[in-house]
Symmetry: C2
Subunit: 403 residues, 2 copies
């Protein structure tokens, strides 16, 4: 049987990543890894989850927790999230919230909601690799967006039309983005809104890392800035994606979309058809842990990760040769390194794994056009001070020898 | 903002169901409902799940359970499922298993895997409503399959081509199907395999209810019959979808796909892009409960549901007027009732909710072409003997008055 004749055309877009193959070597215990984008499991509120799960059964919620539930999500959790959103300048109700299985599912659903084949998704160069992967299933074209560029709206429209579709949305990670660690300032957010208005497209605002700010002043989400202009979430084009994966725990797969009801209602129908609903017991457990200890958990995470960021920034200053530059993130988990143009991150990784036993993610995969191979992403979330110093020192030695 | 201009063409297929709106009335406590297709929560192995979750934290698995995990699913669970599959005549390994968030997600993924716009999915008339919903997102055409019909392979091919695509797979629920309660016999399964071979299409075998057999002899899954012919799962066109929702609990959202690695591998890439992985903690909990108490749980469910099926069949015999017929399922949760042709299930539901306070699901929605309105689905899974007798008696009175 030739499955290639049976598979849909979209499957041509789904390729196994060479990088992931390479990173399988990370199982080796002597490798120092700055590759993962995962939270430090030592910071998980384990006792709180254990207590919450116990409480579900002790308090008579056991049958509800194990049963089917509504596609839009557990109402008390949606209420709690709506309150959090209001505190961010996004007044809304539970009807503006859809619970998803992590924010990765939100990206998949938003691609499914808006992208017909050959429509265009506007993304940053570089952008979150998982967003490109999620959108790819709907066979779009990608175009580079930059709110600060001089490209006219007409140019975006014509480029999209030349690919046989229309621009549907701009996707961006706004705070301490994966992979760059950079944050859009207020002016860039407002410019983005202006451009989206002009193009009459949606904005997909990925706020997965928003709670992980270590210094600097918080900037309102794009959705909050848009509500300042329009007066109501129902009149907004921005679709906000949140997640508990970086704050409480990723293994429960709970995230959310916050948007106008005109967006949430079709997403609820989509979720019903796609997986009925996210795990009931996990939503109840997340609600219990979030509603009693979210702020304390955030403080704990921030204290640890901000130190690790500082250690890594210091180590980079100490060990990197001239010609190598990097971002200085105010939060999140990532630092983005730019090498001299003649170097290639993927080749460097192969070499680094062999001689230095240090892992990172080469930057090319984060570019929809596969450009800018002279970049790499470092994560500081899971490494202690000694590991960071040793690893960055070794990486610096390698770079000294090739720069 | 006009969201209709932004939404993908596929969204035109996603409509809120009138039936679901009607069934929202079920919250009223005086309604007797045979509408839901859900397991009786009183039968959930609550104590076992509570113990399993406690054990996860007590045994040091807490951090793993709360962390990201691999897209293919928790290896010990895949191993356990592979052993179960082997016992059904499907020798396979963990690499032949993908864990999904319920078998609803498997249907969504299989539509995504195989259906380009205007490709044809072959389905039974009637078929599982949720399968039509899942596939609809990929904008297919539906054609009616019946292994016992005299339609030639050429006819299927030409019909699919006339819709601008090709037939990709035949979907069927094989044991005690939702909605009919009927089971494909061995001969029908073999005929289906012959037709699929001739058409060179895949078979999607939905085995969600397979464990719920109350009497009669078990029939090997289509995939097992195909392996008897080909000698190896790797040479099979049948894709088997299983679920823990009807046996252990649906609220954890754990199901699986079992198929050739040529199918599983692209599905793993798809899952990685769509939601990364199913809940880690839920997969571990399901594995603990399944590996220690699956058989006992199945016995408990069978004992209860088989009695309820008997009560409902007896009540139908007692109370239904002449001209009304129904299926006699050997398992599962559903009985399918056919009314005289001039009656309409949806109108009857509206009337029944008003005057009889009895709910069921009108049959039309289960037909891809919206035909056969003179049908309805009754579920016996959640009703005790008295409720069944009272409800069927009332329904019989209504039917007496209109037949």
């Amino acid at each position: 049987m030739n499955w290639q004749d049976i598979f849909a055309t979209r499957m041509g877009r789904m390729k196994a990543s060479e990088i992931r193959e390479l990173l399988k070597l990370l199982d080796q215990p002597d490798i120092i890894s700055f590759a993962g984008g995962i939270p430090d499991p030592a910071l998980f509120p384990q006792a709180e989850f254990k207590a919450a799960l116990n409480d579900i059964f002790a308090s008579g919620q056991g049958t509800d927790a194990l049963q089917y539930s509504v596609s839009e999500g557990y109402k008390p959790l949606r209420d709690w999230i709506a309150t959090q959103m209001a505190a961010l300048g996004i007044p809304c109700g539970a009807d503006n919230i859809l619970i998803t299985s992590g924010s990765q599912q939100a990206l998949d659903y938003l691609g499914k909601l808006m992208l017909s084949k050959n429509d265009t998704a506007l993304v940053n160069w570089p952008t979150y690799l998982g967003a490109l992967g999620a959108f790819n299933a709907y066979e779009p074209q990608f175009d580079q967006i930059s709110a600060n560029s001089n490209r006219s709206a007409t140019d975006y429209v014509q480029t999209a039309a030349s690919h046989g579709g229309q621009a549907k949305f701009a996707y961006m990670s706004v705070d301490f983005a994966n992979p760059t660690g950079e944050t859009m300032d207020r002016r860039a957010r407002l410019s983005m809104l202006d451009l989206a208005n002009e193009l009459d497209i949606a904005i997909v605002e990925d706020a997965a890392y928003q709670s992980l700010r270590y210094d600097g002043e918080a900037i309102p989400p794009i959705l909050a800035l848009e509500i300042e202009r329009t007066g109501s979430i129902e009149d907004c084009r921005t679709i906000y994606c949140g997640s508990f994966s970086k704050t409480l725990a990723p293994g429960l797969r709970v995230g959310w979309v916050c948007a106008a009801k005109s967006v949430i209602q079709p997403l609820v129908l989509m979720k019903q058809a796609a997986d009925l609903h996210s795990s009931t017991i996990n939503q109840i457990a997340i609600h219990k842990v979030a509603s009693t200890g979210f702020d304390a958990q955030i403080e704990k995470i921030r204290a640890t990760y901000s130190q690790r960021r500082d250690h890594m920034l210091n180590a980079l200053t100490t060990h990197m040769p001239k010609g190598v530059t990097w971002t200085k993130p105010e939060g999140g988990m990532f630092i983005w390194v730019t090498l001299p143009p003649h170097l290639d991150g993927a080749k460097l990784l192969a070499q680094s794994l062999k001689t230095q036993k240090v892992a990172f993610v080469p930057g090319r995969a984060f570019f929809a056009d596969g450009s800018s191979g002279n970049t790499l992403r470092l994560s500081f979330s899971c490494a202690d001070e000694d590991t960071i110093n040793t690893g960055i020192n070794r990486l610096g030695q390698l770079l000294q020898s090739v720069v």
